[in-house]
Structure formats: structure tokens, C-alpha cells
């Protein structure tokens, strides 16, 4: 549409750095804008911060990957409804030397146990993000008490995915990351995927319209348009088509609508 009207019609999407860093938005959003004339402005912050911002009404749509927190967000009335959008998976990356000897395994529990036994450095995000929560649940399943090892071999970086991967590369540590971030991450250094394919490593993304009844400023109509487009055929196809170096980063699964 006209530039002036496009400039007026915009929505703010609160999302996470991992989504933004994968580059998905760079191909997804122009398509949507072209079709609807609605500009999408993405704020990429930590999951917790994204939810907090959305709770404050500083966004129209929340697009993150921390299902329990998302469900709580809706249950508390801050969001209208949650939709599954897509998934990918988590992988464990580590130095090529592989001091814990877990390369090639597809058993996350076993891999983590070995890391703990070898006291091989592990870089945790330690920021209560979706990825961090997933990681903690994996440790719990593996029966390792990481709190006790914090500051020793278990290193909580308290940062985003990219920063944590930079840290892992810098100190030759293992780390849990989502595949999309990993594929698009440039500073892999000595790191490579050592564990992947466990069912536990499933990573679901969801999208929620911020409740206009809580915040009158929310652009419900435009926001819902975006959500509908995302979970509709065009959005889903665009997600499926997004590739880096031939690898697909995200797998659309909007039809498996939960909640």
C-alpha cells in the first residue's frame, strides 16, 4: 500500500532473540506486510522480558517458545488465545575434542550424565528462558544437580542464546541450543553438534494476541490478522520454505492446535 498508510499501520511483536537471530523474520515479515500493508515491528528480548513487556501492553502479539509460561500468560488473562505455530528441536553442541565422549549420541539424559561425570564445562543460559527451562528439565531427568556445580564446570552465563554460544565457543564448553539459532550462528569456532534427535529435545513455538481488554492500546484487529496469517497456509508455507544452506530451520505445525 501507500508508504504513509503503511507507516501508520504497524503492530509490535514481542519475541525472543533466538527467533530473530535465525533470520526467519527477515523473510516472513515482508511477505505479510506486502499482503496486508501492516508493518511488523519485532522486539527481540529474553523470553521473560518479552512476556513482561506484553503483560504491560507494550506489544500486540507475543511470539515465543516457552509453552508453560505462555499458557500461564493466557490463563492470567493477559493473552487472548495461544496457537501453535511451528517447532524445531534443541541440540547439544560441544567442542570437537568432545571431552565427555558423547558425540553421535541421541540420548540426551545419557549425554548430560557423561558431561557431569567428566566435569566438562557446560555453558547454560541461566536466564529462565524457554531454552534454559528446557535444559533444567533435562538435567533433572538425568539426575544431575547442577546448582551444586554452578561456577565450577557448570557455567550459567545469564545471557541470550547467541551470547551463550559465543561463551561456549570461547571456553570450549557444551551447550544446549535450538537448531535454528545454531544453523544461523556464525561464530561456531570449534563447536559442533554432539547430541540430537531425542524426543525430549522438541521445541514448540506459540503465538498469542495480547488481550485488548487489558490494554486498550492493543491493535487487536491487526494483531489477529498477523496471527491468522502465520497459522494460515501462506504463513506456514513461508516458514517451511525458510532455509539456510539448504537446511530447514522450522517446521510448521499450526494444524496441531493445542490450548
Amino acid at each position: 500500500g501507500e508508504p504513509s498508510s503503511a507507516a501508520d499501520r504497524f503492530i509490535i511483536v514481542q519475541s525472543t532473540t533466538s527467533t530473530q537471530n535465525s533470520g526467519l523474520f527477515d523473510v516472513l515479515l515482508p511477505k505479510f506486510t506486502e499482503e496486508t500493508g501492516i508493518e511488523v515491528r519485532v522486539i527481540a528480548v529474553g523470553t521473560g522480558q518479552a512476556i513482561k513487556n506484553a503483560t504491560n501492553g507494550d506489544g500486540d502479539v507475543l511470539f515465543v517458545h516457552a509453552k508453560p509460561s505462555e499458557e500461564k500468560f493466557v490463563a492470567d488473562g493477559w493473552g487472548v488465545k495461544r496457537f501453535d505455530v511451528m517447532y524445531n528441536d534443541f541440540v547439544i553442541v560441544g567442542p570437537k575434542a568432545d571431552p565427555a565422549g558423547i558425540k553421535g549420541s541421541s540420548d540426551a539424559d545419557a549425554a548430560l550424565k557423561k558431561i557431569a561425570e567428566a566435569k566438562a564445562p557446560f555453558a547454560s543460559r541461566g536466564d529462565d528462558s524457554g531454552t534454559h527451562k528446557k535444559e533444567l528439565s533435562l538435567w533433572k531427568a538425568a539426575g544431575v544437580d547442577v546448582k551444586a556445580a554452578s561456577g565450577d564446570w557448570y557455567r550459567e552465563t545469564g545471557s541470550g542464546m547467541g551470547a551463550t554460544l559465543n561463551a561456549a565457543a570461547g571456553m570450549g564448553a557444551y551447550a544446549l541450543t535450538d537448531r535454528a539459532t545454531w544453523i544461523s550462528f556464525k561464530n561456531k569456532g570449534d563447536l559442533a553438534i554432539v547430541t540430537e534427535g531425542d524426543d525430549q529435545l522438541f521445541n514448540q513455538y506459540g503465538v498469542i494476541l495480547v488481550n485488548p481488554e487489558k490494554h486498550a492500546a492493543v491493535k487487536a484487529e491487526e494483531g489477529q490478522l498477523f496471527i491468522d496469517w502465520l497459522i494460515g497456509p501462506e504463513g506456514q508455507k513461508a516458514i517451511a520454505d525458510y532455509r539456510i544452506e539448504g537446511q530447514q530451520l522450522f517446521f510448521p505445525n499450526a494444524h496441531k492446535e493445542t490450548n
Binding site: N21, R41, A44, G162, F185, A217
Partner: protein, 235 residues
């Protein structure tokens, strides 16, 4: 280390290519920074001078306070401004969050104490020399302040440049209140932070170099202005 070499090549490339996106980001960086430094100087220089010149109970407390506020953590400023401008905040109706204006406000809050504290010190040193004469002439405060600021202008350029340096390099506050939105609030520092988190260290460094070159340009301009003015004054 190959990143390092790559960064130089890339920086050159970016500058030579005058990439449209880069131009946009650089433009916004400069706009935000200049606006913030301007606001900070407009507020900070007179206040600093006033603090240097006046004697009232609690003055010492204010001096220490502004010295302390030079250490305002950017993230805290970002949060405070965010909470003010948020839809849930008292100034939410202004709808300034995630706009360049919000970034200017945040930077101005960070830089103003620096301008106040440093100009206070500079003016105080000059006022040691002038104060008796001014009191003898019964120069009213506004005039005394104007005269001191004018006579210390060559030194105050360095103060303003310190404020510029802080503002242009600032990322913690602007990323919170600006949101680093592509084409809307992305500036050099937030772009650097983004590329860093993407692991594209070479591009991040290249952008850093570009930022430094721009800052260098501003500093050279300031220096030329200063020495021309000084030459004219002391020919």
C-alpha cells in the same frame, strides 16, 4: 583472528558501498545521539555552572549526587524510561515507547549528569579566578553563568565530547526503550549487539569500526571548529 582481518575488509566494504541500510542506521544513530547530547548540554551546562557558582546548603550533596549519577547504569535508565513510557506506565499515552524519542530521552538521562558533573568542575576552576570580580561587580547569576560558560567554551568542548562519546557508544538503555526494531529504532550499537548475538563477530566489529570512524569525524569537526575559533580570538 581471521575475524579481525575480515572486519577491516568488511568495514571498508560497508563504507565504500554506502549500503542503504547502513546509511539509515548511521543516520538514526547520529540523529539520536546529537539530539541527546544537545538536550544534555542545554540542561547540563547551565546547571553545572549554577552548581559551580552558587553557595547554598546542600550544594555539596548535589555535587556528590551528580558525580555519582555519572555511574548511572544504562540498563537501569532503560528500565526506568521503559516503565514510564510503557502502556502500563504514567506516560504510556504519549506512545513514545519503541520510538527514537524514547531513545533520546534515555540517552539524555545518561549523559546529563556527566555534563553537569564535568562542567561543574571546569566552571568551578574558572570561577576561582572570576568570582571575586563578579561579586564585586554584582553580576546576577544568569549573566555570571553565561559569561563563565562562554569563557570556558574551549574546555567545555571536551566535556561535550565526553558526553557524545558516552551517548554514541550506549547500547544498554536504547535497546530497552527503542527495541532495536529494524528500520525504526535500530542504531549502530544495537545492530552491533544483534550481530554479536548472531555470532557474526566480523560484521559486528566492522560496524564498530564504522561507528568509530563516524565518531572520529565528529571529533575532528569539533576540533577544527575549536581551533578556528581560538585562532580568531587570539590572533
Amino acid at each position: 583472528m581471521q575475524d579481525f582481518g575480515a572486519a577491516f575488509g568488511l568495514a571498508f566494504h560497508l563504507l565504500a558501498g554506502m549500503d542503504a541500510e547502513l546509511v539509515e542506521i548511521v543516520g538514526l544513530s547520529l540523529r539520536v545521539t546529537f539530539a541527546a547530547v544537545f538536550v544534555s548540554c542545554a540542561i547540563g551546562l547551565p546547571l553545572g555552572a549554577l552548581l559551580a557558582v552558587s553557595r547554598f546548603p546542600g550544594r555539596q550533596v548535589l555535587v556528590v549526587l551528580f558525580n555519582t549519577l555519572m555511574g548511572l547504569p544504562p540498563v537501569v535508565v532503560g528500565l526506568l524510561v521503559y516503565m514510564m513510557l510503557s502502556n502500563a506506565g504514567p506516560l504510556g499515552v504519549l506512545r513514545l515507547l519503541y520510538t527514537p524519542s524514547a531513545m533520546i530521552i534515555a540517552q539524555a538521562i545518561l549523559v546529563t549528569p556527566i555534563i553537569i558533573a564535568l562542567s561543574r568542575q571546569v566552571i568551578e576552576d574558572l570561577n576561582n579566578e572570576y568570582s571575586e570580580q563578579f561579586r564585586s561587580l554584582v553580576v546576577p547569576f544568569p549573566r555570571a553563568i553565561a559569561a563563565l560558560l562562554w569563557d570556558a567554551r574551549f574546555t567545555l568542548v571536551t566535556v561535550a565530547l565526553a558526553g557524545f562519546g558516552r551517548a554514541v557508544a550506549e547500547v544498554g538503555a536504547v535497546i530497552i526503550v527503542g527495541g532495536n526494531i529494524n528500520h525504526v529504532t535500530r542504531v549502530m550499537t544495537t545492530a552491533i549487539a544483534l550481530e554479536t548475538s548472531k555470532g557474526d563477530l566480523a560484521l559486528a566489529l566492522a560496524l564498530g569500526l564504522v561507528l568509530l570512524i563516524i565518531a572520529l569525524g565528529v571529533n575532528i569537526a569539533a576540533q577544527l571548529l575549536k581551533s578556528t575559533a581560538r585562532r580568531r580570538a587570539y590572533a
